[in-house]
Symmetry: C2
Subunit: 325 residues, 2 copies
């Protein structure tokens, strides 16, 4: 069975051979632009990996892999407009480079094109079921993005709501990618669902890890400045858990630090981090992350796959959590 890097490479090759490059140029140039910005092609590679657990002819799954990558990039283009983000992967975002209207319309045509990729799948009998998984995922990702935006203006976000938001915004696409790959390879629905659950729980664990690293990570290993979430007043799991556990005085202090301002960035990060430490938020988050991880691995080990597939996927998941891939 191929390694994860090999799946990535096979997918990159397919993408390079399937550039949009057609008129009207103002519509499709932004599409080729965002798709060429790189990224790790995690979702399509996971779809191919999901396929390879049950069948070796992974080329049959390439259109579906392309569909999830196009969908992912569609969501980046529209999210970047909504977040007014100037940069993506160190380059101009689509709307910064081509304008708002291009960002909207090129995003729209990407969403439609993701479906059109699915229609290229040769396995027509499986298509309604694949479409079902994909469409549900697409709707859920929109719902997750809406929840995330709602949270910006909601003072009290519950832990449950936060976990639901990251599940919808991040996890379901990973889960659906794995499941679609498995389905296309003829996996039983039990196996396909185990993979979905693996992806869903892995995605949540990954996001909790992300929240943790942003505050408590080693700046040399994380590759970015620690404390960014605190500076941006992001309602991460850490912050919401701290609010839930703090006494009234500490809670008031936190709310003020995340509302008023401007504050000196460095001392704000230090003050908030100290509160998090005091409340043992790092340990609590670590434990919750661990429980999602255990769930994920449990689901994965229930999958009956060919060759060393499960071991490969488990190893990949470990690397993903360690940010080594």
């Amino acid at each position: 069975m191929q390694t994860f890097n090999q799946f990535q490479a096979i997918f990159e090759q397919y993408m390079a051979a399937n550039r949009f490059e057609k008129p009207p140029a103002a519509l499709y140039e932004p599409v080729d632009y965002i798709l060429s910005l790189g990224g790790k092609r995690l979702r399509p590679a996971m779809l191919l990996l999901g396929y390879s657990l049950f069948d070796e002819a992974i080329e049959k799954a390439l259109p579906a892999a392309f569909a999830v990558e196009i969908f992912h990039n569609f969501s980046l283009v529209h999210d970047d407009i909504m977040d007014a983000a100037p940069l993506r992967r160190g380059k101009e975002t689509v709307h910064s480079k081509y304008g708002l209207n291009a960002g909207i319309l090129s995003g729209d045509v990407m969403l439609a094109s993701a479906f059109s990729q699915l229609l290229r799948l040769r396995n027509k009998k499986m298509l309604p079921a694949i479409m079902e998984v994909f469409t549900r995922m697409a709707i859920e990702v929109c719902e997750g993005q809406q929840m995330d935006m709602d949270f910006e203006t909601t003072e009290q976000v519950s832990i449950a709501e936060y976990l639901k938001m990251i599940e919808l915004k991040t996890s379901v696409l990973v889960a659906a990618s794995l499941k679609m790959g498995a389905m296309l390879a003829g996996a039983s629905s039990a196996n396909a669902n185990h993979l979905y659950e693996f992806g869903r729980n892995l995605g949540i664990a990954f996001q909790l890890q992300d929240d943790l690293l942003d505050t408590f990570g080693d700046p040399n290993k994380v590759g970015k400045k620690v404390g960014g979430d605190i500076v941006q007043n992001k309602k991460t799991f850490l912050y919401l858990q701290a609010l839930a556990l703090a006494d009234d005085a500490t809670k008031g202090k936190l709310l003020k630090l995340y509302a008023a301002g401007p504050y000196d960035e460095k001392s704000k990060v230090e003050t908030v981090t100290a509160i998090f430490r005091e409340l043992r938020i790092g340990e609590i988050t670590e434990r919750l992350k661990e429980s999602y991880w255990v769930e994920a691995i449990g689901s994965l080990r229930s999958v009956e796959a060919r060759e060393n597939g499960i071991g490969l996927l488990e190893k990949f998941a470990e690397n993903l959590m360690q940010r080594e891939f």
Copy 2:
């Protein structure tokens, strides 16, 4: 067989029973809002009519009818953002009422939800073919909208490009609606394709008629001020045909009237209309419209349908062109 008004009523009833009304409210309220603004439900009614030509159990086609209406409204929501339009059917546009981000994201979830409606169709064997028609249409509508936007900043738009633009932006949705209805009812592909061609040509004829009425129509019958397209410097068929036929002096005059400004609206409309008359643009447009109409009716009459379906559809098409429905 039901009348067109009956198809509209059946569809309205289905829509009323299928409101979104779910969380997150900020995502779905705008969807219910735009869908409740009215409109004539032409496309879903045509889909049901297309179905009824071959089978009477039109309730089986209702999810597809809903899909085309959701898609149409998705395109209105995003187009209104791109056109910075404050009003739609006399009410606030979605982005005016709920904000830019809601306009983008609610539009996105509508596009995904249109696909999810298609997945509700009970005829799973037909689904890949239906999805194919729908997805191609969705992509073409985006391309048409892009061409329309491109034209705003292009000085020389050819007649062929203009006709292609209105075909993609307007006609293919009508054509696909009819075809999908026919396919769901088990029509032969010859019959389904005849209906597609009928819808495609009818849509172009309708748009040419629209261009004509805006300049030469009877204000009492058209129901809006005549000359609006001229005031807004819209590159309609009339304008492009005039540019193509005018001598250099007249061409220069037209280009100036459509570029500089501000002009007194009334005298600008009069001057441009006089140029159009001088160049016999009304007659030319009328003749072209007529040729698309003849094509449309020719395709329609090639369809082998049950009962009086073809007659009903022809009568409806006539009313549509007369703006009486």
